[in-house]
């Protein structure tokens, strides 16, 4: 067993996680959630053009592979003169992807809040947007945390695809050391271990968030 290699590889792999995987995940998830809220509201709109637009978006995102989306943006768009660097390409692709999946989660969560809550908001004088923000979304948040955590954890792992468009992140660093040292099994297991640890931390965070949001529910 090449312990020296194992120890010395953790450095670049963890650096890749801290400077690549984690910021890529956070940025994509943040943009993705905003997009998802917009798409969810489009889908809930009584206007059939708007809801159709939302439905179309979700259908395209869920119906095509993430890797293909990534390649279209990074390798495809230059053909029409849109040349993006690896990082912006990756963030755009992942955000669009999260936007499609999380939109359905948020839409379902909004629909899960009883109609009486909208009405109670209206009777105290709130407009629809006001009731949405103050009354409905806080309750929808509670319902959507478990499925959104799923999306988030998937995203952490999906960012490894960014290595294919030359983003320096966890997996790309592992790949390079593996190619250089010929220790494929060890390096890829190391990469897997670091992903797993990140996801373990996230699962713990998810429990904490759920607990906090559950404080107003009977146990």
């Amino acid at each position: 067993m090449n312990w020296d290699l194992i120890w010395s590889s953790f450095g670049p792999i963890i650096t890749g996680a801290v400077t690549g995987t984690i910021p890529l995940t956070l940025a994509s998830f943040a943009f993705g959630l905003v997009l998802a809220l917009v798409v969810a509201l489009l889908r809930l709109s009584p206007n059939w053009i708007l809801s159709g637009l939302g439905r179309f978006y979700v259908s395209v995102i869920r119906g095509t592979p993430l890797l293909v989306q990534l390649f279209v943006i990074f390798f495809g768009l230059p053909s029409i003169g849109v040349r993006l660097d690896p990082w912006p390409s990756a963030i755009i692709a992942f955000s669009l992807n999260v936007g499609g999946y999380a939109a359905e989660i948020i839409r379902a969560a909004i629909l899960s809040v009883p109609k009486g809550q909208w009405e109670a908001g209206h009777t105290i004088g709130m407009s629809r947007p006001q009731a949405l923000v103050r009354i409905i979304l806080p309750q929808a948040a509670r319902v959507s945390v478990p499925p959104l955590s799923n999306t988030f954890i998937s995203l952490v792992k999906d960012t490894s695809l960014a290595s294919l468009i030359l983003v320096t992140e966890l997996f790309r660093n592992a790949q390079q050391i593996a190619a250089f040292s010929n220790e494929f099994l060890i390096l890829y297991l190391q990469a897997a271990l670091v992903y797993w640890v990140i996801c373990l931390v996230l699962s713990t965070a998810q429990s904490a968030v759920e607990k906090r949001l559950d404080r107003y529910v009977a146990h």
Binding site: G116, T123, G125, R134, I135, P138, Y216, V217, A218
Partner: protein
């Protein structure tokens, strides 16, 4: 003024609300037809009738939770400042609905408290967020109202920590805090365990004595007789009979009213 109003002892002539020819259908199902209602300041009107008779739809229409297909609703003197006249035969905009909601507040059958807010926040949400009243003032008012309904110690509790009767009293306080011209109660005790009904009816009775103007949809006939100035009996989307509570409930003239009153009294 309609003839049924003559039996009310003191002259309380100021009109709070006039509804004329309210009509509403859900598809081919007509739920309201030609509904006229007059409510004067300090008056308590009880809407009774079998389920599906349209009484809840009237209440919801007065709060803009349901938009009638036709008819008019006038609040106050429509010519004077602060008056409001809405013609549902014309297209009704968001502003008009907002103005309607400004003037009334609803107490729901299932309370509909905001589960993610404490009791206090439930109450000050409307005054602070919508009416833009100073927070400190809204809190002081909320505390005073909570004290009145015997829930001062529940200020920081979440709705799930309260009994149904307590939740409904908070629901009433939430409506009162908006200082509406008209309080609307939609079967306020129907979801309550029998032993909790009294505490809620007690609060409503006190409000009636204080002079609040109220419309109450209820199945509690004894209560209606006790607090209501006027009782309106509805069936099949129309007003079948209306008049002073004692007359309609004790000596109904219409067959349908007689049957309904008798059946409900047998249930008790």
């Amino acid at each position: 003024m309609s003839p049924t109003n003559e039996s009310i002892p003191e002259p309380r002539a100021t009109s709070v609300l006039k509804a004329r020819n309210l009509a509403k259908a859900f598809g081919s199902n007509v739920v309201l037809r030609d509904i006229d209602i007059d409510i004067r300041r300090g008056q308590v009107v009880a809407l009774i009738g079998p389920s599906g008779s349209g009484k809840t739809t009237i209440l919801r229409s007065l709060n803009g939770l349901e938009i009638p297909d036709g008819g008019t609703v006038t609040f106050g003197d429509s010519d004077a400042s602060g008056g409001l006249a809405i013609d549902f035969d014309a297209k009704v905009g968001k502003k008009e609905i907002a103005a309607l909601r400004d003037r009334s507040a609803m107490v729901f059958q299932h309370y509909n408290l905001f589960p993610h807010m404490t009791v206090l926040k439930n109450i000050i949400e409307g005054p602070v967020q919508v009416q833009k009243r100073p927070r400190a003032e809204a809190i002081a008012e909320a505390e005073r109202l909570l004290e009145r309904v015997g829930l001062a110690d529940k200020r920081d509790a979440y709705p799930f920590e309260l009994s149904g009767g307590q939740q409904q009293r908070v629901g009433i306080v939430r409506a009162l805090a908006l200082k509406p011209q008209l309080l609307l109660f939609d079967e306020p005790t129907s979801a309550l365990d029998p032993e909790l009904v009294g505490e809620v009816l007690g609060v409503i009775k006190e409000l009636a004595e204080e002079g609040w103007t109220m419309v109450i949809v209820t199945h509690e006939l004894a209560f209606a007789q006790h607090v209501a100035d006027e009782v309106i009996f509805m069936d099949g989307g129309v007003v079948v009979e209306r008049g002073p509570a004692a007359e309609v409930l004790r000596a109904p003239r219409q067959e349908r009213t007689k049957l309904f009153v008798k059946r409900l009294q047998h249930d008790v």
